[in-house]
Assembly symmetry: C4
Homo-oligomer: 289 residues x 4
């Protein structure tokens, strides 16, 4: 994650910036780890508070814990705004919005008593989980995965487009064949059924009742069962390509500047220049001799 909001000044702000936004120093790493732990615990508290039995037993504790988390996150947010030179740009970025959402519900509760009971408030609080995405900074492997995903995205789009058409056709056919009493009340409902079947989830809340409907379902299930090979195959191929791309060096050719050679290449594949600048070119040597 690049942070384009570095403070120009020095002293306390700069040091705070390094702790909060970077992760090179032990202090900064410690800050990150504590923050992630607090976020996870705060999400856990929201989740447990939604269980009736837990709410009855520990509702008050959860209430005060929530206030504790909110105050911690608010101080953290204030510090983030303080150390940045362009805090508005930060607040409009993805992480900025998530950081604000993390504290908003509890403060709103103070302004508008009664909102506490709204379930939507819980939803907003759970969005805090996105703050953990900062963790990705630590994990270099994500680059390889994202690389492979990016390169397979167009083929995966094609795959979903094909599924989309399959599902519409199968759903309409089943809507025509099966009776509304058995759950096929409309085409959108049939589409729900078709996706439940194609993805092999198979809840069983809507199932075909007629023989012809069962025969069509068999086709849909076999398609869903085997078509999964397509995104898997495409993605496997791209991961293999990504791993292999490690075989390429970034070294630019001193002759033409071409910068994608296999690591074992000795001559530039574009202009034939000898790539290893530290040893002489055996071809030229023999020409001289």
């Amino acid at each position: 994650m690049s942070e384009p909001f570095r403070p120009a000044g020095e002293g306390v702000r700069t040091r705070l910036f390094q702790i909060i936004f970077e992760s090179d120093t032990p202090l900064a790493k410690g800050f990150d780890i504590v923050l992630i732990a607090v976020i996870l615990v705060s999400v856990l508290v929201v989740m447990l508070d939604s269980v009736a039995a837990w709410h009855a037993a520990y509702g008050e504790l959860f209430y005060w814990l929530e206030w504790g988390f909110t105050i911690v996150f608010t101080i953290e947010l204030a510090l983030r705004i303080y150390v940045l030179d362009k805090p508005l740009r930060y607040l409009r970025s993805f992480y900025g919005i998530v950081d604000v959402i993390a504290v908003l519900p509890t403060w709103l509760m103070l302004l508008f008593p009664g909102t506490q009971t709204l379930v939507i408030v819980r939803l907003l609080r759970v969005l805090r989980i996105f703050r953990v995405l900062r963790l990705m900074r630590f994990v270099g492997e994500s680059r390889l995965l994202l690389d492979a995903l990016r390169r397979s995205v167009r083929q995966i789009f094609l795959f979903f487009f094909g599924i989309f058409m399959l599902v519409i056709i199968f759903a309409t056919v089943m809507y025509t064949i099966e009776s509304p009493e058995d759950g096929f009340t409309s085409i959108p409902m049939s589409i729900y059924w078709a996706i439940v079947s194609l993805t092999t989830v198979g809840y069983g809340d809507i199932v075909p009742m007629t023989s012809i409907g069962k025969a069509i379902t068999v086709m849909l299930m076999l398609i869903g069962y085997s078509i999964i090979a397509v995104p898997t195959g495409v993605f496997s191929a791209e991961v293999i390509r990504s791993i292999r791309a490690d075989r390429y060096s970034d070294q630019a050719c001193p002759g033409c500047g071409h910068d994608r050679h296999e690591k074992r290449a000795r001559y530039c594949l574009k202009c034939g220049t000898w790539l290893d600048e530290e040893t002489p070119d055996p071809n030229r040597a023999s020409e001289k001799g």
Copy 2:
């Protein structure tokens, strides 16, 4: 998609042809995009109209929208026929048939009042979705996927043949073991159950009741769970082959015989020899001069 129906003439017809059938000019691209949007909206309207609540609230609106789409598609179809030299060949092609089906149901409704209520009419209207396949023109990646599919088709056929035999045997055994009261009323019904289980869909509308039936089901589920590796493995291997075939030429270096160069290579990466034997090496040329 090749369009073998080009008009021989010039002027308005040729220009209309370029707009409707091709997609190189901005106008032609705009036409394609508008058309796809109209098709998707018209399919959406058919789907929403099948929901009782929506039909009650907006049935009349949907009725007139449907007439609007039909008139637009009819004008478009008329233009297509007008600009082509061999309109009959077009009407017998896949896209021609789909284009006619896209407008037929509504016009039939005018001729035979009362057909509106037939669900089959809805099915015909949804087939319009196939018109969107023209979109594929834009997506070059589909070639790679189709290539890999074509090469794995015989092995996937073998896979389905194996599944077919497995399912028949398991279904007959279960029909022999389980009682008809639990849903195993006939061998075809058992086959439906076997495919629901093998594909890991598992609706749960028919489940084994006896201990021996459960033991056999366990085997079937484990087979279904692991056998999916077969089409996935075959297709992955073919995608990898397609990607690689795209990148490397088989041409051997005239200098050292190294025979695995990227297609874009102009010099051998092993010995620096100029690979294109038909044109002179610019390096050597400049040396001479």
Copy 3:
């Protein structure tokens, strides 16, 4: 399929042998295709006859059709025995047993009236489907698949052994936690549930009821969902290896007899002998000069 039962004689027997057991001549191919069609139709008849409504309507027709198939298969079996020199070896082979089972039930019915009503008879008749395996002769691709399967079999065995242990542990834990009223009546029943869950079939006939049971189920489902990557990965790798094995020629080295060289190899990797016997070895040539 090798047929080690060739007749030593000539004339009619040999010609019949070629038609029945081989598939090089047009007549032999036609025989194979007709036979496969008859087998498939006969299996279809058994399946349809098990449907109450079809049995009521066409029971008699199916009865006489069954006699027709049995007579055809009996004549075919008699011919097979006639043309072979070692018919007993044939009758003890897999295909021999299947061929006998294909005709046995109907003849037994004649001897013991009343067996017709036994469902087991139907099961025996359906086993005819195995006769279609002779079709595999036509499909060269099966070799590649079987090759890859054979090489991954030990790792797939390891995978199943791991699943087996996982399932036993999870099943026993769930049997301890959940109550028998909810379906977890015994450890074998829990194993059935665990496999239904791990393979992602999910019938829903037995589901966890307690919170702790649901938490454990979540773990089991996530394991089942992701562990499928293991056989898929192993098999994909083996298919890729099989395809690549096509890159190897069978040509033996004239020097040392080593017979597995990459097709592009020019020197034996074992003894350094020049492999292309039609052109001179450039190394030796330069030595002479």
Copy 4:
């Protein structure tokens, strides 16, 4: 499995050590096989004893069989302790703990009558199955699999982290939308539902009832259906890498620099140069002589 507990002495203890802990001699192999068989049978007995009907019929037999197994395992454990120099280190190792657990429940039953009826006792007995892991010694292939798993573990962790976030967000949204009467009683319960849906298990015990809930479910199911490509792709790539790393050396040919030889290659497949620089080329040697 390395056994760092070898006895220093000789004679009977050393010979017993070789039989019990190693598997090179026929006697040691026989011991292993008999032991594995006894373990499997003892686990089977525990499982069958949990079935009410079997317990009623054979409960007493199972009781005495259990005592038999316990005595056999106790003698075996005593021998293991006897032959080792550092038995305490063994008893604190994974296999030592499992070995103790294998005999503990039955002896405890003697001390505290009535524990027999506790289901937890059964659980402890089933843990004996872990003893079979010693079998892994025989299977060399496990190294390759574990290698590939180890290298993909960080990416699989990333994958599970992504799933974890997806599930929390979807579960909270559905908890907000759906009513508690339909099973979405709390966020943890919604998480259970979300994992049942994402992993495509689909029990059907909790299903969405509202239209908007069904639409969100459709998204979740499609994500679950296609995202499985990620661990599969990563693991496939790693298995392929493991297999390949097994076959090719990185050593470059001293003659032409070709750097991709099979490990068993002794001469360069491009230029015929002797690859092993430490020993003389037998061909050249014979030429000199």
